[in-house]
Symmetry: C2
Subunit: 441 residues, 2 copies
């Protein structure tokens, strides 16, 4: 009997049987009686090792462990059972997400705020962690992003079903990357279109030019470029569902002669183009493959072309959180700023411009999360409660990551070194607003 796609996806994302790999058999302890002294000690230790976040621990309703004297508890973390505490201590990176998804870890307070405070505390504490704990608690290196593996990785996340993403992404172009809130208070739709416009301006698109896009999502940027800048775009993506959606949209908009969506890996790009663009793909490329990406740009961009690479990043190299890597984004790795710039060095290219849109991603995610919550009943009906909680944690955790600066968002513009026709400055990005009027799309 063939399972439906949706069911398979749910299983892959939050398969409950995988959720307690380190759980102790509870049979040798009375479940959830008053905490034993070592358990109280463990809870205190957990708070200390987490850098003393403003948080109390509630141990299965039987006891409350307050933070140390000088820290005011703003939130309570409820640990549902004794086994959850053990999992949290032995493998916090993975267990935190899994326990939260299963509802065995709950928090009061606004989830993004709680997590932001937690991240800030964790960041402070890391240097103080005993070496053996850094070793035990470490995240694994991200899995392979070879041609073959990349397909599986991308399928895991992006082929979840377009209906799911439609529930909470912008209605204008279904952008699943950082928006650009040029002014405070603009809508998600406006901010996503402003992002597309900013990217086009950075690339200095001219009518009739050719553009190649590596990793095109649901194809919004390619269609925007074709419609607003009259260019021809060839857009690559290895997610079948996204490519089918993108093609359908281009047909609807009557621009299928100017936008071609190719279901293939960026490593198989052919031809030469005036401009190269990649928005939110580098996170899935893996640093080992940056020289390959650089070679692709080098080979397929014309001498006076420009390239734009947009990616989540870090201030310094850091492994992806185990839970995110395992349950949400297999193979994902946001590069540090020097790793990011190494794409340019591998070309070699001249780096013309780098902009950091970190706080714009926090705003984007806040808009996504609030739409997600508005549609949570539908998500629950589609994938069940564990999934609802897992994705809530992922969105809220990402907000916290960008707010607490453990995540950055870099946009970099590159040119061939010998290209002396580069823009004199960045004034042209700001000669008029990048934001469309509300409702004009």
């Amino acid at each position: 009997m063939e399972q439906s796609t949706k069911t398979r996806e749910t299983a892959r994302t939050v398969a409950p049987e995988r959720f307690t790999p380190y759980s102790l058999k509870e049979s040798f302890l009375q479940p959830n009686t008053t905490p034993l002294p070592p358990e109280r000690w463990m809870a205190e230790k957990f708070l200390a090792l987490s850098g003393h976040p403003p948080m109390a621990l509630d141990l299965w309703g039987a006891e409350r462990v307050e933070p140390r004297g000088d820290v005011q508890a703003k939130y309570t973390l409820h640990v549902a059972d004794r086994s959850a505490l053990y999992e949290l201590i032995t493998n916090p990176n993975l267990a935190f997400g899994d326990l939260y998804s299963e509802g065995r870890l709950t928090m009061d307070g606004h989830l993004p705020d709680v997590l932001t405070d937690l991240y800030i505390a964790l960041d402070r504490s890391y240097e103080q962690l005993p070496l053996f704990l850094r070793f035990i608690w470490r995240n694994q290196a991200p899995r392979s992003t070879s041609l073959k593996a990349a397909k599986d990785n991308i399928h895991h996340h992006y082929d979840m079903g377009n209906d799911f993403y439609k529930l909470w992404l912008d209605k204008a172009q279904m952008q699943y990357t950082c928006a650009y809130y040029e002014e405070p208070g603009i809508s998600l739709e406006q901010a996503q279109l402003a992002k597309l416009e900013l990217v086009c301006r950075k690339l200095q698109l001219q009518p009739g030019e050719t553009v190649v896009e590596a990793g095109c999502g649901w194809g919004g940027l390619a269609r925007y470029m074709a419609r607003h800048y009259d260019v021809n775009v060839k857009a690559f993506n290895i997610s079948r569902e996204q490519v089918e959606f993108a093609r359908e949209k281009a047909r609807e908009e009557g621009i299928e002669d100017r936008v071609e969506y190719v279901l293939d890996d960026y490593r198989n790009i052919s031809g030469t183009y005036d401009k190269f663009v990649s928005i939110g793909m580098l996170e899935h490329v893996g640093t080992d493959h940056y020289p390959e990406l650089a070679a692709v740009i080098r080979r397929h961009m014309k001498p006076e072309g420009l390239a734009l690479v947009h990616s989540i990043g870090r201030n310094y190299p850091m492994r992806t959180n185990a839970w995110i890597e395992k349950r949400i984004f297999p193979g994902a790795y946001p590069p540090s700023i020097t790793e990011f710039a190494s794409v340019a060095e591998a070309g070699p290219f001249s780096v013309l411009d780098v902009e950091n849109l970190r706080l714009h991603y926090a705003e984007t995610l806040e808009d996504w999360l609030s739409r997600y919550e508005e549609n949570v009943a539908t998500v629950r009906a589609m994938y069940g409660e564990n999934f609802v909680r897992a994705w809530r944690l992922y969105l809220a955790g990402s907000i916290a990551g960008f707010r607490a600066s453990s995540l950055q968002l870099f946009q970099m513009v590159l040119a061939h070194p010998e290209n002396n026709q580069v823009p004199r400055n960045r004034k042209h990005l700001y000669t008029s607003s990048n934001v469309p009027a509300e409702g004009s799309y």
Copy 2:
């Protein structure tokens, strides 16, 4: 008997006795007779190994060696004597500059154009060079930039005498760093002031703020900030002549209460400041010391501060040319883009903005060189012909380096990772022109 400063400086820069370290004793060959067959072969080989630049070699008037068939000779490189050819072949990086300075290597054609074509050819050829030649022709690692050594390095170049630099730097603020030609055709003075204005805007200076500057040259930026933005600036520099000049200027302008010039190393900065700025010092810091510089910024910049670092750079790591390192800029090393970004990673800081002003530096140097030539008689009277030629080559070679992309100019804005009060975008840099009206300064 004490020599005058100028004489000492001249000697240090172009000491003629150091100019022929690899010269063969000419006694065993008749000087400058018709080239021998091996010499003709060497000349051809030199052109080939240089990547076939559009250049013929004239061997002491006795024979002309044309480039290979498909290359049109645009210029002629005159090699004055047989010994010069040997030096050029055995140690081109050092000998080219030395021979040019001594007048034993001359070129027709506009020097920056000749050198640009030569650099482009060299860049193409490097990968094809036999390994043993890459080894023989390699540049040395730059010398130490420790606290003690840095003082000597800086003294060598910057304490040449203010009168010399006054001859060809801008009259507005004596800026010895890349100007910002916001529009084509503006004067050097306008472009230098536009650079200062751009830097102030990138730093978002507010009245009453405190700024610390690492490596302040003749103090122009510090005075500009105090006068135009009403901030208090403490500016560090280890060049005595520059600091004395800067102090005198501040007194003249009546702003000595707001600008303090400190004759000390950036590593001895104390206090905390709203903003940190360093224009054109990183080239002298040395990559080994980047973490120290990062620590200085980390320690002395307030939590919501901003830092700006401006430096010559490269697309990928490359050693400084031997002649430049030896005769012009001891200890100088322009970092590659990842080395440059490693300052941020060492903090750690968030990189907010990177801008590349490469072609602006070519324009700046063109203006400098043309003023230098206007005043060449004065320079000759001060330091002699060898010096005149050495600095002409240095300025023209730098133009060529920036044009041919072997040199870049990066400006980077940094913030503490936890600073969420960073500017939303870079629009504020361009709300009005950065260029003052001609003659308004």
